[in-house]
Symmetry: C2
Subunit: 362 residues, 2 copies
Amino acid sequence: MSFLSTIATSLKEHEADAALISFLPDIRWACGFTGSNGLLFVKQSTDGEGLEAHFITDGRYTVQAREEVAEATVHVPGYQLFPYLVKEGFFADVESVLFQADHVSVAQRDTWAGQTEGVAWIGAQEVLTRAVAQKTEQEIERIRAAQLITEEVFSFLLQRIKPGVTEREVAAQIMYQHINRGADKLSFDPIVAAGPRGALPHARPTDRPIAPGELVVIDMGCFLNGYASDMTRTIAVGEPGEEARKVYDTVCRAQEAAIDAARAGISSDTLDAVARDVIEEAGYGDYFSHGLGHGVGLQVHEWPRLSYHVSYPLPASAAVTIEPGIYLPDRFGVRIEDIVVLRNRGCVNLTTAPKNLIVIDA
Amino acid sequence: MSFLSTIATSLKEHEADAALISFLPDIRWACGFTGSNGLLFVKQSTDGEGLEAHFITDGRYTVQAREEVAEATVHVPGYQLFPYLVKEGFFADVESVLFQADHVSVAQRDTWAGQTEGVAWIGAQEVLTRAVAQKTEQEIERIRAAQLITEEVFSFLLQRIKPGVTEREVAAQIMYQHINRGADKLSFDPIVAAGPRGALPHARPTDRPIAPGELVVIDMGCFLNGYASDMTRTIAVGEPGEEARKVYDTVCRAQEAAIDAARAGISSDTLDAVARDVIEEAGYGDYFSHGLGHGVGLQVHEWPRLSYHVSYPLPASAAVTIEPGIYLPDRFGVRIEDIVVLRNRGCVNLTTAPKNLIVIDA
């Protein structure tokens, strides 16, 4: 399905004549452009038959835009993209333009409006969000390929982590290994959190050496061909003790229960509750302090949210993380995260790294 | 000078009663908070004597906010930061609120306005920008410390780069070495561009092996204690040939001329022209395809721009890059970049890495 039909629906809903798409991940999704500067303008075609799309970028991308962009006419006017649209008369027969209110600053909107007197600028949120969430087979294969690099890096780390190695050294290796194995870039700064630091869901790596008997939470991912991976594993360096094993087992069961229940159409909060119930029954309900997961694609965090805060049905073909955790303050934390693709009768797990508790000899 | 006096000036200029600062680098600059979620609300103090500041963050940052935040009362209401302000009556005696129009989306502004009926929301750009640009001695030392890591990494790379090593391998090493030497994170994805790829100012590293006789453009930086480094050097792997040496010499002379001319009060375009004139006189004027530099601080790219496009006077104590380049399509590129601090009678260069052409044995 072309992005134009999604935009046509939005234009009808908001009674607008044209749309200006400016959020780069959405532009990439819609027309294939991978560069860092561009606008996508959609209006009624001059022959009155449906919509036509125009992509505008700067001179750095002359060749690249012509190679990459499909379903839109390419314009390369130099650096002044929006003034070019004005000068070339794109707004001449337009009364109202839809724009992405969740991605456009007030200053940017005011600048556009100031250059298009008489045109109404209509802000709409999530113009392409639901369409972007539903992945094609090619997109799923790209996420799988990115995830494969992350899994290779995890296998490598298992050979390197031992008592005395610092969180920082592990984080540096995560970056080196991802890039050297072909990743475009990291999808976020890696989390490596040992012992009590593991109780902070978003801990930054420190110079703290990993000590025998500690759990280590490792959360990492990369971009490959534009698509993100995202995986968390928690390992033990030496025997972690009885309660750590119990907490690990609880998180593992919660994650597996959520994966078993995950399918297109289930409500976000219902799926979150499947994992949360397992954790509450084990007596750790106060220590699962975040939502269950999030969409993954051209952004590492995208719609939909999987959370007790939201109750929309999850769409078919969305790639989402399933990542419950338990965080015991000043003691340790456990999180386990896979990416799954939602289907009508269940889900497909794109992550193959083992989930039994790995105990590294200390 | 407290941030409150800067905000007081803005409130007077825009005839507003209160200000909501939401751009995180500005919040960090104003009150010291280093976390990833917060709002800074400034209003007339209840005793009518000047302004008072309130910082609001979520429960993850309870301890951290109380440790870090100065000059503002800390509130930790849970995840609903803005609704807390409404509920606690912060807008009760407020008629108009200044917000950062260049950093706030239309959707965000509409949400705020929808929860504060009767309050006028007044968008202003660059509310703190000029104050943020003028660095304290402590901030300059932090930039210098970040730059020192980057220079250490450059020295390390000189031992590793040789023919056959790929751009990707060098980029991966840049990341590993920065993090392992103490950086918080990279300030941008490193550029490693050899031979003809060097003619693309923003080339992404590829699997291309470096060949004998090629120039290699390396642009990299990190964050340390919140402040960014940014440095470019161009090296030769084996003897690069006569024109490459001439181009290198030209860029080097252009950069040094600009550093000699850099001082507080000079106009941005005038300083850009100092470097551009040297390059034009050498016959390469068509191949310096970007501006001269940019401010550096809590963001790696911040105000002011150093460019022929803008003509404001550069402020005292700003840390700015000076980075002319020459890019010969399909052949090679050269860029040299230092960070300097502008003073009334000249500038102080924070970068000490050598600028003579380094030729690695091939």
